[in-house]
Amino acid sequence: MTILDVDVRHEQGSFALQARFQSDGRLTALFGPSGSGKTTIVNAIGGLLRPDHGRITVKGRTLVDTKKGVFVPKHRRRIGTVFQEGRLFPHLNVRHNLLFGRWFTPEGGRKASFDHVVDLLGIAHLLDRRPSTLSGGEKQRVAIGRALLADPQLLLMDEPLASLDEARKAEIFPYLERLRDEGGVPIVLVSHSVSEIARLATFVVVLSEGQVMASGPAAEVLRHTNVFAQAGLTEAGALIEARVCGHDDAYGLTVLEARAGALTVPRLRHPVGTRLRVRLRARDIMLSLKAPEGLSALNVLPGFISSVDEAEGTSVDVQLDCGGDSVVARVTRKSVDELGLKPGLPVHAIIKSIAFDPEVLGITQPENM
């Protein structure tokens, strides 16, 4: 199903946006360098900008159609937005900022729990304060809470986590995942962080100078590193699908089962049987001609080299086929020569368990992989 169908053209000064993509993903990531038009698209979806030409449809509902003269005003769209610059109401305290959207949503439609959101964002001690007394990150968290508590039909988040620390992000991520998967609230996320996108996105749109450079399911787009180089993305990697197969509580480990083989990762809370997406960053993978011994790395995936691409200068992306899963390893050109890596060669991909830090793992539903 197409959740988000955007096809707009718009001019602002010398900048021309010409964006067209159909996202069937529940979390659509907009990715691109500064000034590439991400906020402009967010504004068009949210109803803050009337595009010169085009059409925007969300979950089958036409919000904008310049040909038919359709333009649903922003207050009827029920699209919660976390703005790049906060935009808290200066005359209301934090509590009333958070509850603002509540005044206008039907009582029945409330899903987000105030206490839960406040807790999640760690802003309970700020409730009676005015926005002007908050720190940068505190403002950002209140802005996120405000959008969440409006119980939107769609959530637009323009770099919501930019100035938050890792610990706080790690607390917010699972909530966004739940919202995306269980709450059925599609999310459009603008982010410069590849790990954020890799973890959360089901669909990625790569923008550059107002044009869509690539768009598609996250697993596909993230594998193509060359598109990203232009867009400022340097971290390539493969997304593979895996199932929780067992937990080893003694060592605090979890064993996953993928087509490529068994993967040992730090203990997860997900029950056995949960389907997960796992991101194997190309730079985290080492290649060995023989099965290694006496090595601290717990994951050794046997496979064949399917192709050897040129990547940036020094390094080469080696595509592997490990039991049907595509895996990419980035190694130096020197290693390629020394080890004589070429298509067809059987190799072992070695990955440290520790390399799977929680951020590169996300729960997923199989059809969206």
Partner: protein
């Protein structure tokens, strides 16, 4: 200096009543007109702007004359108001309040306009995305943010009403207890040789009242500012 005579006390009370009525009555139209002028893009905006400023540009006597012609018992608007709403302006304190309201209107509108212009429209947009329809956005975001301007406008309107004389006396003349405000009483004193002491006495009362009003407004403004910026 002696105290005030009973008639003077009457004038003081009446002046307060008139100024207060003028200020409150012009508040809502003032906000509305300020909004139209600052935000509106309609035909006749320029004309409305000129109309609002006229009481400032014209000598008060001329404004009083126009009021008499329009709002007097025989004037088209006056006759209409009397017939349909039972509101009579001529020779009533309501007429004095009307004259004062109109004379203070440009000041009120300007102050509110300035505040509206300085409101960050991105905040209004944000309120919209949270589901607030325009009228709600206005009430819960714009209005609180322009409160400083509204307070300033009210001060100007009240102060102007305390001092307004030309339009009032021309429109509703000076009837003790009904339309004789402090300025009318002062006027009477200045017209007779040796009336200076009486004029000065009333002037001091006016000054005292305005000190009170200013103090109150500053206090309110501080509260509002603290709400917004603290």
């Amino acid at each position: 200096m002696e105290g005030l005579s009973p008639e003077e006390w009457t004038a003081v009370r009446l002046s307060l009543k008139v100024a207060f009525a003028a200020m409150t009555a012009s508040l809502i139209p003032g906000v509305a007109v300020a909004f139209l002028l600052e935000r509106g893009r309609f035909w006749g905006r320029q004309a409305l702007d000129v109309l609002v400023h006229l009481p400032l540009v014209l000598p008060p006597v001329v404004v009083g004359w126009f009021l008499l012609v329009g709002f007097g018992r025989r004037g088209p608007i006056g006759a209409f108001m009397e017939e349909y709403f039972g509101i009579v302006f001529s020779f009533r304190w309501t007429g004095a309040a009307l004259a004062c309201a109109i004379m203070g209107f440009p000041l009120l509108v300007r102050a509110i306009r300035l505040s509206i212009a300085s409101v960050d429209r991105k905040l209004e947009d944000a309120a919209g995305t949270l589901g607030a329809r325009p009228l709600w956005v206005f009430s819960v975001v714009t209005l609180p943010l322009i409160l400083p301007g509204i307070i300033a406008g009210m001060v100007l309107s009240f102060a102007k009403a305390m001092g307004e004389f030309g339009a009032t006396i021309t429109f509703v003349s000076s009837i003790p207890g009904e339309t004789q405000t402090i300025p009318s009483a002062i006027y009477a004193y200045t017209q007779v040789p040796g009336g200076d002491a009486g004029a000065m006495r009333l002037t001091l009362v006016s000054v005292a009242i305005s000190i009170g009003a200013l103090w109150l407004s500053e206090w309110l403004a501080r509260r509002v500012r603290r709400r917004v910026h603290a």
